[in-house]
Amino acid sequence: MTIHQEKNGNALTVALEGRLDTMTAPELEETLKEALTGVEALTFDFEKLDYISSAGLRVLLAAQKTMNRQGTMKVTHVNEIISEIFDVTGFSDILTIE
């Protein structure tokens, strides 16, 4: 998985490419720990994300909890398969998906 970050003032876009799974989720978790400081608008761009497992969902949930305290978070360009995963897990209701 590759993580692309783009910071614009208080806004941060994190574009993920590849697979967000047990092997790669810790890397994203680590990245976000530092990157979210002072961020008020977080956007995940999933256009190039092929796959997400519960390990990835956990990181998203943790990010959502952080952003609930300091701003907003949304997930964009979710493909059909990941979208279904969000649906069955109730994540569609927790996350803001565009």
Binding site: Y51, S53, E84, T89, G90
Partner: protein
Amino acid sequence: MTVKIPLYGRIDSNNAAELERSIFSQLEGKHAASVILDAEQLRYISSAGLRVLLRVKKTHPDLTITGVSSDVYEILDMTGFTEMMNVEKAYRVVSIEGCEEIGRGANGTIYRIDKDNVVKVYKNADALADIQHEREVAKLALILGIPTAISYDVVKVGNSYGSVFELLNARSFSKILKSDPAKFDWCVSEFVQMLKRIHRTLVPKGKLPDMKEKALDWAMFLKGHLPEQAWNKLYALIDAVPTDDHMIHGDYHTKNLELQNDEVLIIDMDTLSVGHPIFELGSIYNSFVGFSEVDHEVILRFQGFDFETGKRFWRHSLAAYLGTNNELKLREVEDKARIIGYVRLIRRAIRRNGLENEMDRREIEHWTAELLTLLDTVDSLLFSGNEIEVEAIDENLPKVQAFIARHLAENGCPMKARMQIEVAAEEIFVNIAHYAYTPLSGSATVRVEFFENPMSVSITFMDHGIPYDPLAHREPDVALSAAEREIGGLGIFMTKKIMDDVAYEYRNGQNILTLKKNL
């Protein structure tokens, strides 16, 4: 030089001196001779008699006592004589006249001698070493978890030797197939389960012969029989098969599989080896198809069922073994198995002077033609089974995912289902990696199987870790908001949602979790 001297009746203080004189007169001038005292007619020996044996041993160290009855053996054993000289027990004599033949293998034929016992009569007249070998490998197999029978006695059958096994109320699978065609599918399933169990078994190095070496020997035998180019390719194909320390039976067919009460046993263990499963598939192909390709009566005589049944049994077993009904895939593996099979058949027929006999000649011609055709198109004897065994650690997740993905792709599984299966498989595998063996480590086996009606796939995860049912966990409340949500249990919940069925059982010391997805 060997001098053989018979001993008779009772030897005690009354006749010991006389016996001693007689023995030494026969040994006069033969100081270097090996001496065999034939005790077949000996009923009793007292300490006076034992002293005679000691004096013979002193002048003629190479002393053997043969045909020792159990009474006399007990005396020799108690007094430590069995440690001092070679003592061979008399073999019980068993007749097989009128006994039912229940099995037949490469080295011998198995007969039922009474309700509870069977005897395997060896073809080789000097079979004691073979019997010893089979007893040792059967013990090894049993210790490694393969259900088999171990012989408890060696007997004399005519001029041959036999080993006796306890086999109560057992019926061979050949017999079941013949008398109860409705059990066909059940037989296939049990046959394949046992085969997989054998092939999963890792054998300590050096304990069993390597089948690849044998196969290379068979190929060597065909040098000169095949055109040079074809032979070169054949040898290279076999040589390219990697060595493998997993067990193979070597003569696996339905006459060697027995149903005893409710337990399935594999017998006839003398060909037990290690090696790549393609060598086993080659020999199975021969048993059910190859042997009888020209003369369809062969299988009827040998197995008791007809050629069509044999062929169907092979095909269904191969499909179950590979976990697929994909005709192309089955054909591909079958072709590889046939190469090994034909090499063995041709060698065997030629060695039996088959070139002198019309029927054998026709068979050799047929098998050779088939082999040459296959050698034109087959470029590797390797195939992938539908099981993978890895150490249960996160780092092996990509390996497991790639294995599953390849099988799904090969069987034309739609993209969406593939992704869902991957997600579910990750949850289960990672669960095993994190919890099954903590704090130690262990292995996990993953099996992929396809089914028809309805088209579906199952992924089975097996581990020997602590008994643990992940499905027994309380489901997370997915209606809660992010702040209230707990993380635990999410993976399993998701897995249940995106699969059509998730089942857990603990059996034979294994956690077995099966995912099912309709395609």
